[in-house]
Symmetry: C2
Amino acid sequence: MAVPMTRRARNASGIALAVPILKQRFGERCETGAAIRAQHAHTTTWIAGEPADAVVFVESHQDVVDLVEVCRTHRVPIVPFGVGTSLEGHVNAPEGGISADFSRMNQVLAVHDEDLTCTVEPGVTRTQLNAHLRDRGLFFPIDPGANATIGGMCGTRASGTNAVRYGTMRENVVALRAVLANGDTITTASRAKKSSAGYDVTRLLVGSEGTLGLITAVTLKLHGIPEAILSAVCPFPTVEAACRATIATVQSGIPVARIELLDGLQVSAVNAHSKLTLPEVPTLFLEFHGSPAAVAADGEAVAALAADEGGGPFKIATLAEDRSRLWQARHDAYWAALGLRPGCTGISTDVCVPISRLAECVEATREDAQELDLVAPIVGHVGDGNFHTLVLIGDDPAERARAATFIGRLSERAIAMEGTCTGEHGIGQGKMAYLRRELGGTVDVMAAIKATLDPDGIMNPGKIFH
Amino acid sequence: MAVPMTRRARNASGIALAVPILKQRFGERCETGAAIRAQHAHTTTWIAGEPADAVVFVESHQDVVDLVEVCRTHRVPIVPFGVGTSLEGHVNAPEGGISADFSRMNQVLAVHDEDLTCTVEPGVTRTQLNAHLRDRGLFFPIDPGANATIGGMCGTRASGTNAVRYGTMRENVVALRAVLANGDTITTASRAKKSSAGYDVTRLLVGSEGTLGLITAVTLKLHGIPEAILSAVCPFPTVEAACRATIATVQSGIPVARIELLDGLQVSAVNAHSKLTLPEVPTLFLEFHGSPAAVAADGEAVAALAADEGGGPFKIATLAEDRSRLWQARHDAYWAALGLRPGCTGISTDVCVPISRLAECVEATREDAQELDLVAPIVGHVGDGNFHTLVLIGDDPAERARAATFIGRLSERAIAMEGTCTGEHGIGQGKMAYLRRELGGTVDVMAAIKATLDPDGIMNPGKIFH
């Protein structure tokens, strides 16, 4: 995370020139107060905040074009900001520059019901979008937990609980409009559902964390709201048994919409926080989408697979309010876990491994937490082999060091198991150390693309790679 | 297609040096005979063959590394070749060089049943892979019709009849091993089902038509063979009615596995070729995958939606042999269409539009064929808004010119309807004229990436862009 001061120093004179120009162009929408700058560098985790020199609230594509024009002229970094829910320091400005706040670019530009697509500005949040779509019988499935913006979710290639059925942002972004470092505006693809017309620039930008350009419009795939939804919980004797049941479910082709694992510690936290009385053992939360007959049949099939692994009872929540309570509890897992140790800082981290290695990876991670005397409950999107731990730490430097060791070992463990150091949070500043260990020379390809499209390094510098 | 002779001339001295070196390294696996060179430049379409100077049969990753080492040293183009089923001139060598034949790199390297992935060499064909997987209860769904190689299918981002349910190569490639123009070998991703670790280099290579590197291994997603398969055919009064029924099916979330449109002319061709007696009107061929109860319910639901549009009778083929006959007929549509005009050349082309524009686009295309006095039956993967025409032409230059006009107008029409000039065939040499009209400045981004990763232009030059 230590960025040579020379970079910030190199940029200082350009920033000094650019900020007054931006104040003239954007008026009160260009803010330089310490509080607002600090708020835009709040990383939600243990990564120290590194505020930008100014925050510009963009309200239109033309605003973004103008912002880039000023910044490229004076070689000033631009750090995109949605609502600030990222977990790996993406919103920091380690080299100074401008935080571009997209939260006011929050219009749904078009919904094409027949095509199951919509086009939105990047500041639209996922719950705002779903509220907009509900009356049309449509929804956007990607649900990373936080009420993130669509632009931010593009940036980190977000996924979450529904990804096992509906895919991630990788599969659900049709096209992007973006402003590049050279000031050009591009639209990366047509609105066709598929295409073989040249390189997949859409997917190059999805997951690029704002380092290749600023997204100003997103065309997304939508889905019909399922006729019936069935939710269930199922306790298991061990994490391994829960993982084996998950593997059997995925292998059998049952189109489960959500299959989430909470370890015993996390279930305890959820019980306390959400006033539930679940057995405090490894537990799967499940959801099925389809016709009433199909979800009933799918639920029965999974209950049988769970029983084969010693899991059960498989409790179905058919009432909408029971379902909501259950999934609210799952979504509140972060807050519930923080409650295990009042006053602590929670360090959220994630990895993803081939599902055959999942039980082994989760178990080794639990053992490692015990060995390092850390409180670190686990929740996982286990249908994808993806899991999170929230490491709860206090102010003791020795404990922080152990937490760093724990997270480092977790990334190395996932990579050794043919997995990735991040399934959905992104590299940002926090996971840079592991990217090359995971992908070797592929990182040189990424860096070459970055250098070509952003030779002056103004697009969210200091993220993904140094 | 006119490449300045200077490029071929520029390369000539390097080629003259490289071929003897390759003969020494590869022995009889480096062939320079005119027949074999011409066979490797057989474009299956009206694009004239442009043979390479030699064909090298690679048999291992190390062979590819060695080939690239020689070619980059002497600035010699390399044109990858699988089994030669591409449709837009991808296998041509307009600047001379080496055709790298991957057909002998045809080993299935690993199958990971629990993870639903496998890793294969690029010369494995899709039917070979599915034969290998069958006993494990798994299959690889991407089915472009031809028995293409997996490497070639990566190159063109292939899709086909099952894409409406299972996605295209974009969604089904997990990771690639590739040799770049600078000689580096990269592995683009881990074996995890999803990742947020940096730029999506996997999807940058998928669809890059061999212009960024040579693929030497592919990790693919697999699927369980469905418990039950139900096939059906349903005639419609008009193309528009068939398209409306398709839209209703997709909107309702019915997970149809295949939904293929044949226009009346194509049905006539299929009847003649495959000895069927289908009504010679616009017809949907459908397939459903799932449990016996689910496919029966899905079939009934679609039959009702079809009836709403005046379609029917909805005839179900439950017997495996009836199903096979039906889909064999669909797969033989190309040969059937050629039979409409014995001795003709068939020019296969494809576009893809938002599904809401599909009926309009198909109708306008049929009218245009009539206006231009061309025989051009239509088949379409209509669930994705993707359709093909096979223009049947003789030797008359005036007719060829009309065919060129027809294909040009088709691409322009698709682009004007917010679609793409190619849904699954790729740009190659044949669609270059339309890429910039479709994507504007995004083509500059592609070209910048190409120039960075292949500064000497040795990787399949003269494809996608000049």
